[in-house]
Subunit: 356 residues, 2 copies
């Protein structure tokens, strides 16, 4: 069993043996205890902790459920299995008093275990159903497949035009980088634009690794981008639609989220750059636009208060968008033809932010 998980069990066991009331202790997940760390540029936990004593029925039940989960993880480890969070919720039907009331409860407890152990839930063999990013470009990696063998894959030459799909777990025990020959990672929001850049062979022409993040990126997608940046020192550039929700996609890749503050270090990539679509691009390239909805406007105002957007660049772009009252999609660049994005827009913008 994983040492960190074992130490939780050991502590409870020892307390009971000594006749003490068993407890678990973890960092407080209260919002007051989650702060934006300006130095590292990500959300982090403070030092407040909470203790849950088995002297109350609810806490006792919650400790029991946690022990059931740890036992389940141990069982999966022996059988080389993994489980979706949903499957674990259903499996708890057989856990008597340990049965979860709802998947929200079991998901929350999985996060508690992450906070306590600093292990990713994926390392604990628990995973969401989200599908991972598609990747195309000259990166060779090896994946530990379900048969327990390392399989080497070049993400440009060994795949079809839909690219290589990353698995739910991209930790080194599952994915290792073998070699690469790219100058930057381009994380792309929409499938239409990803396919456009693939068809236009932007990965080859601009020596880039194209990553289709499929809207709000999954944890494994963010983790892959983090590893590419941290281990291989490849700069990361994010390319999204031009609207408040897409700005949040950038923020979540660069600075992480409150919900995952305990694992910001391994999920966020604070030196990511944003290439567009910006509000200034809408004006500069006279892009076809849609009117901002009331929800869009509300989201932009919320972003003005969000510490992740507290820079002159972002404040300027958000205010420009509010003044314009307009948003635009990545694919709006097609106004100037199918090659405009790869021949003109991206080279111009990437030069401006110093990537090429």
């Amino acid at each position: 069993m994983n040492e960190k998980l074992k130490s939780i069990v050991d502590e409870i066991y020892n307390e009971m043996k000594k006749g003490q009331i068993p407890k678990v202790e973890l960092k407080s997940r209260n919002k007051d205890n989650i702060v934006f760390d300006n130095l590292s540029g990500v959300w982090k936990y403070g030092n407040n902790t909470v203790k849950r004593y088995a002297s109350k029925t609810n806490s006792a039940k919650s400790i029991l459920k946690m022990l059931y989960i740890i036992d389940f993880i141990d069982e999966m480890e022996q059988d080389l299995k993994t489980s979706t969070l949903r499957e674990m919720y259903y499996i708890s039907e057989g856990w008597g008093l340990g049965k979860f009331e709802s998947q929200d409860e079991s998901d929350m407890m999985t996060e508690d275990l992450e906070v306590m152990t600093t292990l990713l839930r994926e390392e604990m063999r628990l995973r969401p159903e989200e599908s991972g990013a598609s990747v195309i470009g000259n990166l060779t990696l090896k994946e530990m497949n379900r048969k327990g063998e390392w399989k080497e894959i070049n993400c440009r030459d060994d795949v079809g035009d839909a690219g290589y799909t990353i698995p739910y777990n991209v930790e080194p025990e599952k994915i290792q980088f073998v070699s690469e020959d790219v100058d930057f990672v381009l994380a792309i929001e929409t499938g239409g634009m990803f396919d456009r850049l693939v068809e236009n062979r932007f990965d080859e022409k601009m020596r880039s690794l194209l990553v289709h993040i499929k809207g709000q990126p999954s944890r494994s997608t963010k983790r892959l981008i983090n590893r590419l940046n941290k281990e291989l020192h490849i700069p990361v550039v994010v390319f999204t639609d031009g609207d408040p929700w897409s700005f949040r996609i950038f923020a979540s890749i660069a600075y992480g989220a409150i919900k995952t503050a305990h694992i910001s270090d391994i999920l966020a990539t604070p030196n990511s750059e944003f290439v567009g679509i910006t509000a200034s691009d809408i004006v500069r390239y006279e892009l076809p636009t849609d009117k901002l909805s009331d929800k869009d406007i509300e989201a932009l105002h919320a972003e003005l208060e969000d510490p992740r957007f507290n820079t002159p660049f972002w404040k300027g772009e958000i205010e420009t968008m509010l003044n314009l009252g307009k948003k635009a999609e990545q694919q709006a660049l097609a106004k100037y033809g199918l090659n405009f994005v790869t021949d003109t827009y991206l080279p111009e913008k990437l030069k401006e932010i110093g990537i090429i």
Copy 2:
């Protein structure tokens, strides 16, 4: 240029040359002209046609837009490009009077061209943004990649655990089957269940080709299943959640949809089998359930009127579900552990429907 597209242009040209008012003629897309063909088990068009004469401003504009599209397709053919439907809508910004009012209009006209030519829009180089199915199993195919080279891929040995992702176009000019060694195709609704069967190596143990259809399947997914069944004679089995929306997923794979009645022959697979989750399974396996919502109940009642469900099996299952007032997910089978679905449920059910 494609012959079928050229003949549309030729006809308009000849009419104008003869001093006649140019027109286009296509099968009526009125619902009255779309009938469920009990013999072939799919939706089909009747023989009513409509003519659009350029003597009315609206029809003249619509003919102009159609000519712009055909010209755009021809251009893409020469440049070896494709375009998303969204990109074409934006590109029409530069078409003067040919500019589309909305993407609904350009999408509709693309369908008109499909009805007139019996070409798929994918063959006309126009595609949606939907991502295609993931496939795992012992099927070797070759894909014509963006460089114009055939790339051979075995969907079990040459891919990671996330499988091979099919491209937007699976016509023989893009995808050809090389060899296979599987007894049936299992089309799976949810990612969680697909991953479960992959991890449990159901493809190897039961000689099956696992296809993750990702909810309501895209056209390319349905077309791939159709080709596997028609060309390679592999039986198709559909495995979904047990609720009215999942029943519709089965119906759309097996019998097609009204919207795509003009291409039922190449999208639908009428001899597909449904393995579950059925309402009877909920009772038989005592599965964890959720209560049917008002919308669920409404959908089930609509299905009782739908010709695609006009069989004793479906009428029985729909009525059982209404009587139970319950629905269940595929993953609810995890109540009995992670191996129950592959060791017990699927073998039992597949035997009953005569697949194994």
